[in-house]
């Protein structure tokens, strides 16, 4: 099943929207195909295959005092539904107040080379090998008194973005995630591994189950530890969850207005402040190998609240947000950039943290010359090894203090070896403050975060050592 019910292609629907429009307009058509498997206790629970086609029209209108804008999104099954979407956007724009984010629409000269290509798709068959691997793993787990839980999802979104100013862009974004959770039959021990993937060809269910078995084996011995500050090894996925939240908060306008952790008061930001004594880089780049993302703005708002409606189609450039441990940039749209004399910095849908200058981890190959997590464990006299952070919420925006829980395996390390599993904790920490306290950064790797992987799937992160991670109270959850 593809294409509109009346046979119109995605490109034709975009052209029709632009032909119908009487105002400066952006038309974005997103073809989304997705499929998934979900399982619990060694049995499949749900599955599905879904398709949607969403037309988003951004209409801009001259109004008293400036330019107004409105965005209307609807599922469209055929060409006959397009004029109503355009009309709704234009009506809303004409009745709106002038926008503070106004900027001329991005211009294009000729269609992108791949503009004419059809949308890419996926189907349940894409997960066939994974399903087969799960069947084998379920049988092994039953023999070993383990219970397996998890989720496999593959989404392919093809975006066609056109504008009355000549843009004709196509973007393809495959997104896959594989989450595998193993528990002992008495549910007292739990372990988790996850992976992001573009096509599931690199997902090895058997290897993932082996890793779960190792970790469930660690939990054969347990220790009860009280709340307190512990030397803690955070694995790459946990670091990703913390850094993604900081990324989502890195809005230049909020910082200049003094209502963000990145504000310095009196209209200034903390750009130029040292956040870490280590030569850390935090950056995003749509061309990162294995983490490629659509290289132009095809969203209308970012998580930090910045509006991008006027900037659709703007190229997304690599940006280093932190360089050599120093905050070097914040997220700003073109209107705010023009107002402050700085370039727009649309955020790419990926995030990379590495030790050294931007790109050093890629130059050295993933892993580089830093210690692996296994080596960091060996170099630990006494500390905790986490698996995941969970239920992360903002407690104090002034410091970006976050709270959350540990989940699916906290392990005690003594004399360079994992000695057993420890109870879970509630923690309270600020990712910005943590950057200043990290004492060791390991080898960065492609990783799947746990808390935010519904929304953010592409990260390269290192494991890190924090000498005094704040475990605020004990959680009884296992």
């Amino acid at each position: 099943m593809s294409g509109a019910t009346d046979g119109a292609t995605a490109q034709e629907l975009v052209e029709l929207a632009l032909q119908t429009a009487t105002l400066p307009t952006v038309a974005r058509l997103a073809e989304r195909w997705e499929t998934n498997l979900r399982w619990a206790a060694n049995a499949l629970t749900t599955n599905g295959e879904m398709h949607s086609r969403t037309l988003t029209v951004v209409a801009t209108a001259p109004v008293e005092g400036g330019t107004a804008v409105a965005t209307v999104s609807r599922e469209v099954a055929g060409a006959d539904e397009v004029p109503a979407v355009v009309a709704a956007a234009e009506t809303a724009a004409r009745s709106g107040p002038p926008s503070e984010n106004a900027a001329p629409l991005v211009e294009g000269r000729e269609p992108a080379p791949d503009w004419a290509e059809p949308p890419q798709t996926t189907s349940i068959e894409q997960l066939g090998a994974t399903a087969e691997g799960l069947g084998t793993a379920f049988a092994r787990a039953a023999q070993e008194s383990h219970l397996l839980y998890g989720f496999a999802e593959h989404i392919v979104t093809t975006t066609y973005l056109g504008s009355s100013t000549g843009l004709r862009l196509r973007g393809v974004q495959p997104t896959g995630r594989f989450e595998f959770n193993g528990k002992t039959a008495d549910l007292t021990a739990s372990a988790w591994v996850g992976a992001s993937t573009r096509d599931f060809r690199d997902v090895d269910v058997a290897a993932a189950y082996d890793e779960l078995r190792t970790r469930l084996g660690w939990a054969a011995t347990t220790f009860e530890l009280p709340a307190g500050r512990y030397e803690t090894l955070l694995p790459p996925g946990a670091v990703a969850d913390l850094m993604i939240y900081a990324y989502w908060t890195a809005n230049a306008r909020d910082a200049e207005e003094g209502r963000s952790v990145f504000g310095a008061g009196q209209g200034a930001t903390r750009i130029g402040d040292s956040l870490s004594p280590l030569p850390l880089t935090l950056r995003s780049d749509p061309d990162t190998p294995g983490l490629q993302t659509v290289p132009f703005v095809d969203y209308t708002a970012s998580q930090d609240g910045t509006s991008w409606v006027f900037d659709a189609g703007l190229p997304i450039e690599p940006v280093a947000w932190v360089t050599d441990g120093v905050l070097t940039d914040l997220v700003r749209n073109r209107a705010h950039g023009a107002a402050t004399g700085l370039p727009a910095t649309p955020p790419a849908d990926n995030l990379i943290m590495e030790l050294g200058p931007p790109g050093s981890i890629m130059a050295a190959g993933l892993g580089g010359h830093s210690a692996s997590l296994a080596e960091m464990i060996k170099n630990t006299r006494r500390g905790l090894l986490l698996t995941c952070l969970w239920y992360i919420r903002e407690v104090d925006p002034e410091r970006l203090l976050l709270t959350g829980l540990t989940r699916d395996g906290v392990y005690l390390i003594e004399d360079g070896e994992v000695k057993g599993a420890v109870n879970n904790f509630r923690w309270n920490e600020s990712p910005v403050e943590l950057l200043g306290r990290i004492s060791e950064v390991g080898a960065s790797e492609i990783t799947l975060c746990r808390e935010w992987n519904d929304f953010f799937n592409r990260t390269v992160m290192p494991p890190v050592r924090v000498p005094d991670f704040n475990m605020s109270t004990v959680s009884q959850a296992s």
């Binding site: 099943m1 019910t5 498997l37 979900r38 619990a40 206790a41 499949l44 629970t45 599955n47 599905g48 086609r53 804008v69 409105a70 965005t71 209307v72 999104s73 609807r74 599922e75 469209v76 099954a77 055929g78 956007a89 009506t91 809303a92 724009a93 009745s95 709106g96 107040p97 503070e100 349940i124 068959e125 839980y149 999802e153 989450e179 595998f180 959770n181 549910l187 739990s190 207005e257 003094g258 209502r259 209308t300 609240g305 239920y391 407690v395 104090d396 925006p397 002034e398 410091r399 709270t403 829980l405 879970n424 309270n428 403050e433 519904d454 109270t473 004990v474 959680s475 009884q476 959850a477």
Partner: protein, 500 residues
Amino acid sequence: MPDLDDSFLDLPLERLRDAALSRAAELGCSYADVRVERLRGVYREYRDRALETATDSQTLGLAVRVVREGVWGFASDIALTAEVAARLAERAVATAVVAKPLTPRLVELADEPVHADARWVSAYEIDPFAVEEAEQQARMLELSERLLGAPGVSHSSAALGYVQENKFFANLAGTSTLQQRVRIQPQLTAVHVGETGFASMRTLAPPVGRGWEYLTGTGWDFDAEVAELPGLLAEHVAAPSVTAGRYDLVIDPSNLFLTIHESIGHATELDRALGYEAAYAGSSFATFDQLGSLQYGSPGMHVTGDRTVEHGLATIGYDDEGVQAQSFDLIAGGTLVGYQLNRQMAAEKELGRSNGCAFADSPGHIPMQRMPNVSLQPAEAGPSTAELIAEVRDGIYVVGDRSWSIDMQRYNFQFTGQRFFRIERGRLVGQVKDVAYQATTTDFWRSMEAVGGPETYVLGGAFNCGKGQPGQVAPVSHGCPSALFRRVNVLNTQSEGNQG
């Protein structure tokens, strides 16, 4: 009360039903349902005096769910033609075929009477989609402007979201339902930026199952709340930081509703208790073997689940499995006595009829067990909030929700709020700040010494309860009175984190 929307009724609903269900029957499905769903949404956000976000959305699609050879299959699309409906039945069967080797336990569904040609519309007066954009904008900017013009307010924001949800459901047994509901969420925030930092405070008005009338005086007094907000924010900015320790808490419904949601609502979902959510949202400490025996809280604790309360966000006529809406007990006399169910789990645990908690948030998602309105009942002739405060020698009165976090078995939680008032010798003596309260669920509810009377009862709620993979979002309400809790652990958030 408005009628079902003609533009939804004009869709070829019967033709889609007949095409999907007949094809499913031909393919040997023992169960099949078809759902046509339309979601219309509007969101406006104003930052100071400017419109920051103006988004109108509509999702319209068709879903077919089948049980074939005891295995679920599901498929959905957006094209509303008989040909596509039949093909979705085939694709749903195809997913069931892939799933078959991984499904050792065959699906069975609890019986439900047939509800043929049923219709239901939620209780609201004015369709917000029929109100002129200019009128809506004027109202939101008027309220925002009042905040912005007040002393001590550096910035304001105003957000307005509303949704119309239409569903057509039919299954092979002969049930056929047509439903419509409307919900709305206005929110205003005042921000203070000073030399030493910034602070914000927002309105307590909950999202509700009402229409535009909510902003014009029915169900909430926004003018009165906006008038007092700057003064409360100024007091908060000047307030001393709390001293960490154990305090008696009088918790206002504007805060307690969220604690109920997290520590009772999610913990009494049977799919969590059975482990179906274990890898994601989590499981529950309230395991099935404790049904009827777990001392959840103090004897005065009576918690109900319902999908029937007027203006409730989870209120509906029939759920997404064709089960009629009901009201039922979850906790009575402080003891766990019930769970939230769908038809599969009701059959699996031999609990009789489902209590109607199946919900899918869009046509592209499969129905799962979702929360009904879960509410703490007030004490008949119980105390007022002032009378509860009078019972406290050394405590804190907690108002409004802000930050929330709870572990994956719903034991350990931590909540903050919009404002906190110190209680000394039974009287409020001004605000404190940097407060978070932290507890284990059963310790907390067992420490509940008194429940307020009916006049303290407020129906709170949220638009954005998340659960499941793929993630689904559900609106849900929680009613509760003010309540008094003894010796709860209070943190000072300033001393949390950073280098000790």
